[in-house]
C-alpha cells in the first residue's frame, strides 16, 4: 500500500468537526447484501472511480472474495456532502461474520455510533439479523433498518415490515428501502446516516483513549493499528502506550482509510483511522486494547477488553518432510498478520516434525490451513483438532493437555476435566425439539428456556467445548435451517471420564488421528471415525484395516477393499504417452497424501474424522 493525498475537493477530510463525523457499521445475515451495499456507498461518495472499482471492495483476501465472507475487519472513510449543505466524513467499519470471530465483531461495533441493519426483502429477518441486532443493542447503537433487494420479484416488503416490528421490536417506520445491486435508495441511506446516527462524543483536550479494533501487517511499515479515537488526539512523534501490557512505541504516522492509507497530521476524538508506530508484529497488539499517551495517560482503559485465547488445537505437518523449514518460515510470516494464531514445535511418530497450533475455532483453523496452502504454496496435514484438557495426577500435579500425544499414563491419572461452555441460542420455537435433542446428544446440561417474543425462543445449555467445536455449529445451523443463532462463552473446567482413543491403520497407530474423548462416547466416536476414514482413504492395492482402540482394546473397525483391476488393456506407441501423463497427474495427487506405513492417507481424512454421519 502507498500513501496517497486525497483530491482537493475532499475538504471534509481536513479539520472536520466532530459533529460532522459518523461512525457506522453494516450488519446482516449472510448473503443479505452487505458487501454490495458497502460497494455502492463507496461508489456513490466517489472515493473510487469506475477504473479501480471491483466487487467486494473491502474484502481484500482472495479467500474472502471466493467464499463471500469477511474474515478481517476493514474500514474506509467516505466523504459526503449532505443535503444540509455540510460536508461529512462517514467512517464505515466492516466486520467479520462468524462466531469464531465474534469478539472482533464486538470491538468493531464498539467503535461505532450506529449500524445499518440490512434485511433481505425476500428472505426477511433471519438468525444472524437477530444475533447482530442484539450485539448492536448491547453497544447502544442507533439502528437503521434497511430492506435490501426490493427489486427482486420475490420481494415482500410488507411481510418484512411486520417482522421488523414483531421480531426485531424496531419501529418499522424507521426503515429505508433499497436495492444495493441496482443502486436504489443509496442517497437516502447516506442521508439517514447523517441525520440519525449521532456524531461521536469525546473531548480532544482529554488524555488520549483509542480503541484498537484490528491490526494488519504491512511488509514495509510493520503493524498498521486500526483504531477509533474516543478521547484526546494522537500525532506523529507522540509516545503511545498499550494499556494491556504497558509497552510503548513512538508514533511514525497516523491517517485515515481511503481506498489506501491516507496520511494525516493527527487523529482526534471521534476519528477512525490508523496508527503506525514501529510495532513489529500484530501479536504485539491486542484487539480491544486501549492506546493512550505515555506522558499523559487516560485514567482507565476503554471497557470490554478481553484477551482472546485459542480454544482449538491441532498440529500442522508438511506432507513432504523436506518442507519442514518452509513450513516453519511460512508460519512465522503468517503469524505476523494473525494475532489470534499461536504455534510451537511438535513432532509425531506417524507424521514427523511439525507444529502444534492454537485456533479460535474450526473456521479459523480452516482459514489458516487454506491461507498457508494458498499464500505459501504448502501441502500440509492437520492432525485431529482437540480442546485443552486438565488432568490431576496421583502426585497432585495438574497438567493441561491439548495434544492427545501427551495424554498421561492412565494409571497415573487421578482426575480428568474438560472445558465447558455456556451456549446461547436464539431460534424459532418450531425447531426447539430438534435443537434440544442435539444439545443433549452433545452432553448438554442445565438448560434454560425463555420466550423472547411469540414463536421465538432463547435457549441456553452448558456443554463440553469439545462437543461444540466438533460439528455442533454445522448441525445446529442445519437443524434450524439457518434460522438459529448461536454464541458461546467458556465457563469452567468440569470433571469428566476421559479416555484416549487411537486409530490404527493396517495395525499401525496413527498418532495424529488420536482423540481424547468421553468414555461413554468413545465407541460411537471410534465407529464414526472408522467409517469416515473408509470414505476418505482411497482404495489401494491391498486391503486396509482401520481400527479404533482404547489402550489395547479394539472397539471399532472398518475395512477398505483392495483394488482388483485397473490396468489399461492396450499400451502401444501413442498409448504410452497418454498413460504416462495420466499417471503423472495421479502421482501429483498422491503427493498431497501422507504415506503412513504402506497406506496413503489424504489430507482431508484428518479433519473428516470429526464430522458425524448426521450431516
Amino acid at each position: 500500500m502507498q500513501n496517497q493525498s486525497p483530491p482537493n475537493h475532499w475538504r471534509a477530510f481536513f479539520n472536520t468537526l466532530m459533529e460532522n463525523i459518523r461512525n457506522f457499521s453494516i450488519i446482516a445475515h449472510i448473503d443479505h447484501g452487505k458487501s454490495t451495499l458497502a460497494d455502492r456507498l463507496i461508489q456513490f461518495t466517489g472515493v473510487c472511480n469506475e477504473r479501480n472499482f471491483q466487487d467486494q471492495m473491502l474484502d481484500n483476501m482472495d479467500i474472502e472474495r471466493e467464499r463471500g465472507i469477511t474474515i478481517k475487519s476493514n474500514a474506509i472513510s467516505l466523504p459526503y456532502r449532505a443535503k444540509d449543505g455540510k460536508e461529512y466524513i462517514l467512517n464505515l467499519i466492516d466486520t467479520p461474520g462468524h462466531v469464531d470471530f465474534s469478539y472482533e465483531v464486538s470491538r468493531s461495533l464498539a467503535s461505532c455510533e450506529g449500524v445499518l441493519l440490512l434485511i433481505d426483502a425476500a428472505q426477511g429477518v433471519q438468525a444472524q439479523t437477530l444475533a447482530n441486532l442484539y450485539l448492536a443493542m448491547e453497544h447502544n447503537l442507533e439502528i437503521i433498518p434497511i430492506i435490501n433487494k426490493i427489486d427482486l420479484p420475490s420481494a415482500d416488503v410488507d411481510r418484512v415490515l411486520e417482522e421488523i416490528d414483531s421480531e426485531l421490536g424496531l419501529d418499522p417506520d424507521t426503515h429505508i428501502k433499497c436495492s444495493a445491486k441496482e443502486g436504489i435508495g443509496i442517497e437516502e441511506i447516506l442521508e439517514a446516516i447523517v441525520e440519525r446516527i449521532p456524531p461521536p462524543t469525546g473531548d480532544t483536550s482529554n488524555p488520549l483513549a483509542a480503541l484498537i479494533f484490528d491490526a494488519k501487517y504491512d511488509a514495509y511499515r510493520g503493524t498498521i493499528i486500526h483504531c477509533r479515537v474516543f478521547e484526546g488526539s494522537v500525532k506523529a512523534g507522540d509516545i503511545i502506550r498499550f494499556m494491556y501490557n504497558n509497552s510503548t512505541y513512538k508514533v511514525e504516522e497516523v491517517g485515515h482509510f481511503l481506498l489506501q492509507r491516507a496520511k494525516r497530521e493527527k487523529l482526534s476524538a471521534g476519528d477512525v483511522g490508523y496508527i503506525i508506530a514501529g510495532v513489529k508484529t500484530v501479536s504485539d497488539v491486542r484487539t480491544g486494547d486501549t492506546i493512550t499517551l505515555q506522558d499523559r495517560p487516560c485514567g482507565q482503559p476503554l471497557p470490554g477488553f478481553k484477551e482472546v485465547k485459542p480454544v482449538v488445537f491441532a498440529s500442522i505437518y508438511p506432507i513432504a518432510s523436506d518442507d519442514y523449514q518452509d513450513l516453519a518460515d511460512s508460519l512465522e510470516k503468517y503469524k505476523l498478520n494473525d494475532a489470534s494464531f499461536i504455534y510451537e514445535k511438535d513432532s509425531s511418530a506417524a507424521l514427523g516434525q511439525g507444529f502444534r497450533c492454537g485456533f479460535l475455532g474450526l473456521l479459523h483453523l480452516d482459514i489458516v490451513q487454506e491461507r498457508l496452502e494458498r499464500e505459501f504454496d504448502l501441502s500440509i496435514i492437520l492432525s485431529v483438532p482437540s480442546v485443552c484438557y486438565r488432568f490431576t495426577l496421583r502426585d497432585k500435579k495438574v497438567i493441561y493437555v491439548d495434544n492427545p500425544t501427551h495424554y498421561p499414563d492412565p494409571s497415573e491419572i487421578d482426575k480428568g476435566e474438560e472445558p465447558y461452555i455456556r451456549a446461547s441460542m436464539m431460534l424459532p420455537e418450531r425447531y426447539l425439539g430438534t435443537v434440544m435433542k442435539l444439545c443433549m446428544e452433545k452432553r448438554g446440561v442445565n438448560s434454560n428456556l425463555n420466550y423472547t417474543s411469540p414463536g421465538r425462543a432463547e435457549l441456553s445449555y452448558e456443554m463440553p467445548l469439545a462437543e461444540v467445536i466438533f460439528d455442533f455449529y454445522d448441525r445446529f445451523k442445519s437443524v434450524t435451517q439457518g434460522y438459529g443463532s448461536f454464541d458461546y462463552d467458556i465457563i469452567d473446567y468440569r470433571e469428566s471420564t476421559l479416555v484416549l482413543m487411537d486409530i490404527l491403520v493396517n495395525g499401525e497407530k496413527v498418532d495424529a488421528l488420536s482423540q481424547i474423548v468421553h468414555r461413554e462416547r468413545a465407541r460411537a466416536r471410534a465407529l464414526n471415525a472408522c467409517d469416515r476414514l473408509k470414505d476418505e482413504i482411497p482404495r489401494q492395492m491391498y486391503k486396509i484395516a482401520i481400527q479404533g482402540a482404547i489402550g489395547g482394546e479394539i472397539i471399532a473397525r472398518s475395512t477398505i477393499s483392495a483394488f482388483r483391476k485397473d490396468v489399461t488393456a492396450k499400451c502401444y506407441g501413442g498409448d504410452i504417452t497418454r498413460k504416462r501423463k495420466l499417471l503423472e497427474k495421479q502421482k501429483a495427487g498422491k503427493k498431497r497424501m501422507k504415506m503412513i506405513g504402506s497406506v496413503s492417507i489424504p489430507q482431508s481424512a484428518f479433519l473428516a474424522v470429526l464430522k458425524s454421519d448426521n450431516d
Binding site: R564, K565, D566, V567, C571, G574, K579
Partner: protein
Amino acid sequence: MISDQAGLYIHIPFCLSKCGYCSYYSIVSPQFIDEFVKAVDREMAFYTDTFHDFDTIYLGGGTPSLLSASQIDTLLNAAHKNFTIDHQAEITMEVNPGDVSVEHFQSLRRLGINRLNIGVQSFDDPLLKFLGRRHTAKEAVEAIDAARIAGFDNIGMDFIYGVHGQTIKTWKQTLAKALSFSPEHLSCYQLSLDKKTSLFRQYKKDKLHLPSENEALDFFLATSQTLTDAGYIHYEVSNFAHSNSLISRHNTKYWRHTPYLGLGPAAHSFLDSRRWWNRAAANTYLKNISEGKKPVEKSEKLSREQLALEALFLGMRTKDGINLEQYKSCFGCDLLAGKRQVIDKLMRSNLVELKDGCLCPTLAGMAVADSLALI
C-alpha cells in the same frame, strides 16, 4: 533373445468403416492409398540419418489389408531401400478377416510378411455386429484357414472381451474356438471405451452394460487361466504367446524403451529418451510430406523421472517385470531400497515377486499394473 535393433511401424490409416470401440486414427476414403504409400516412402528418407537397422516391421492400422500386394511391396521395398532390415526380421501385418484370400496371403508371404495378426475380435456374430465389425465369424475362420494354406506359421489373433451382452461362458467359447486353430499368438483386450467412440456415447446414455471391476477381473483371470492351461505364456497384460520365441518382438520394443520409428499419420516414434508423433489428420500429413517437411506434430524429451515412471508402468505390465540392476543404473535409484516398505507389503499381498533380480507382477499384480506404477 530381444535385440536392441529398432522397430519400424507403419500406420495404414484406412478403414472401410469405423468400429464402435476404436479411437485410433483412420479415414474411410481408400482413394488416397497410392498417394499415401508414396508419402511413407518420402517420410522414411527423413530418418535415414537417425535410424539404420531394423529387425521388426509392423504394418498396423487402420486396415493394412486394404492395401494391394503391390502397394505392400512398395512399402517394404522403400524400407529396404532406406534402411537395413535384418534378414531374420519379424514382419507383421494386421489383417481384417474378409479382406483376404489364399492368393493374397500367398503374395504377402512372397513379399516377406512372415507374421499375421488377424483381427478376429470374436466368434460370436451378434457381438461382432455390436462392435461394428464388417466381418462374420465364418469369414474369420476362412481367413485363418486361408493364411494356414498360404503357409503362414506365425499367426496372431486379436480378441475383445468384456463386451455388453458377453458372459464368461460365451467368452470362453470364443477362446476355445480360437485355440482350435492353434494360433501362435493371442491378444485379448478388455473393451475400454475412449470418449471419442460411438460406443462410449451409448454407454453414457446408459444403453450399455460394462463389467464391474470384479467382473472385469473375473474375465481377466478366466482368460489367463484358459490360455495358460492351453500352454500359452501370459507375457503381457493382454498378450499370450505359444512359446518364448513367438512373443511379439515388435511390441516388446514399446515396453522396453527400445528405439522405434513410426511412420504414417499419428504414428509415434521413440529414440534416445525422445518421443515424437506425427500429425493425425491424413491430409495434413500428406501436405507436410509434399512440402518436404516432417509431419511431426510434437516431440518431447523425457526426463529421467518420466522415463523411470514409464519403465515402471510398462515393466509392471509384463511377466518379466523390472530388472532392478538395470533400473538402478538407468535411473540412479534403487527401487527396492527406496520403496522397501511398500514392496514388502505388495509381496505379502501377492501382487509382486522377486525373480532373478527382477521385480515381477503376479497375475493379480498385472491386473492392477497401473496402480503398481504409483508406488
